[in-house]
Amino acid sequence: MKAGRVKAGPVKAGRMALAGNLAVLAAGLAALFGLPAFAETYLIINSTIFAAFAILALSLALIWGYAGILCFGQAAFFGLGGYTYAVAAINMGETTLPALMAVLLPALFAGLLGYFMFWGRISDVYLGVITLTVSLIFYRFVNQTAGEQWNIGDAPLGGFNGIPSTPILNWPGRAGDQLAPEDIFALSVGLLLAVYFGCKLLLATRFGRILVAIRENETRAELLGYDVRLYKLAIFMLGGAMAGLSGLLFANSVFVSPTMFSLPVSGQIIIWIIIGGLGTLIGPVIGCILMQVLTNWLGTVSQIKGFGWVDPNLVLGVLLVIFVLLVPRGLTGLAAGVWSWLKGLANRAPAERSATREQTDP
């Protein structure tokens, strides 16, 4: 892909990207093997939730940051994944097929929703409203499913309480042989790494590059002969599948309840991405984990006498406003800015020299 580029810039950028990828891989492997060695079960389970949420962050980072589709209801696919898994696992006993369904069903639902939105040429703002509404309809609907008339096979949907008896994944083919919390953790972090690098690879393909071009200028992509609707539908379905996967992992570390579909979940994902940096993959993952750590910590603080006024949601809201106004490119943008500023400081003299050389060069 780099063939034909003569400038040194892209080569250097390639080396930087490689270093970044290795750093992410190292951090992921460190968490994967390091954390279980010393952490208590509580921390393991918490970290599993972080990993699940990080996949959810990636699902929107991909479709919003790279395809320009601002889905305000990613929680719909997250919840759908969790509930699909819970209901199917209760009915089937063995959990391998339910786990696959938890990824496929949200993807198919995203396909149905996306078909009407993209073929209907719904504009960006209305797309946000429609997806938000869909997630809230799910929320309302599942909330009132208390009582036996809402049982699906053997699985009670449980209304407001959700399904506290959500089965834990078993080893494939061995029904009842459940994974330990450490195994769920390893699975979640492993899948997070796989999803992250999968997204990286996807974006480097022809499909990924065209997707970014569509984000930049839909009209031009159409005028070049690309069927923009198909590309958007495909990535929207992939985002739905990733959110479903996240819901599956979440269901295995907590349990499924209507809050999975709620507005705070959809809103949180957007906050993670804005704080981490829109248009990157690592930013939203970092934003997600930082915000989760912060929310948990604020939760503990608010329990302390005299600090009852500390509301994690309020702090998140203030942080969002600060970032939108002052750090619009998020933490990754900030880091890149500081990095190039430092580099400029260090190389000022040589840079000036080469600039004058470029000017004299015809």
């Binding site: 034909g4 071009a213 031009r220």
Partner: protein, 271 residues
Amino acid sequence: MTTSSTTASSTGSSTARPLLQTRGLTMRFGGVVAVDHVDFTLQERELRCVIGPNGAGKSTFFKCLTGQLVPSEGDVLYRGTPIAGSGSHRIARLGVGIKTQVPNVFDGLSARDNVWIAAAKVAPGRAAERRTDEAMARVGIAAIGHRLVGQLAHGQRQLVELAMVIAPEPDLILLDEPAAGMTDEEVDRLVDLIAELNRSHALVVVEHDMQFIRRIARIVTVFHQGAVLIEGGVAAILTNEQVRDVYLGKQAASPPHASRGEVSAQRTEGS
């Protein structure tokens, strides 16, 4: 005044099926008729210039041809196939490329990536890379391939878009004000490029710059208030009283040396 249409059809072989033909093409926005029963015929490998004052319907006409707008009435035939109302991507796949009036480019991508996206639609892998480099060299933007298009000057953005249009080698190239914002050297290159492209492609060029039209045009179609006012050879059109009245004014219709500054006069001599 009406003898002009015979000139137009005599340029191509009149028996052959035209590349592009519109019949009674009409585009209404509410009560406004932007394009009014336009009958337009373009032969294979013909070069046509379209002129007309602002609001004459030239860009709307282009949008009807490329599927960006669905015409209210009338037919658009591309090699005999009706294409009015087809999606933009379908029409593009038939071999129609357009450089729009306001450059439609991918601002967040490098110039080379912009052109690659265009080439990758019609060619796989290495062939797309080769086409990309060829198109960039032809337009003369190989040196700025790594620059972000959003940071380029208007004239350079025009060139990037031009490279995107020619990279897939479409049979019909529509250029809407391609010379706007270009430096004199860039315009010179554009004139040469249009002549070269015209050897194997049909082109329709909308332009306001009369000096530019003089340098490239053979047959000119004049739009006025959405309709075709007149069509004919460039010399006849530029001295036509009626055309002068609606659009050109005395300045551009008189010999360039008398009315234009030295720079534009030289440009005319250069052709």
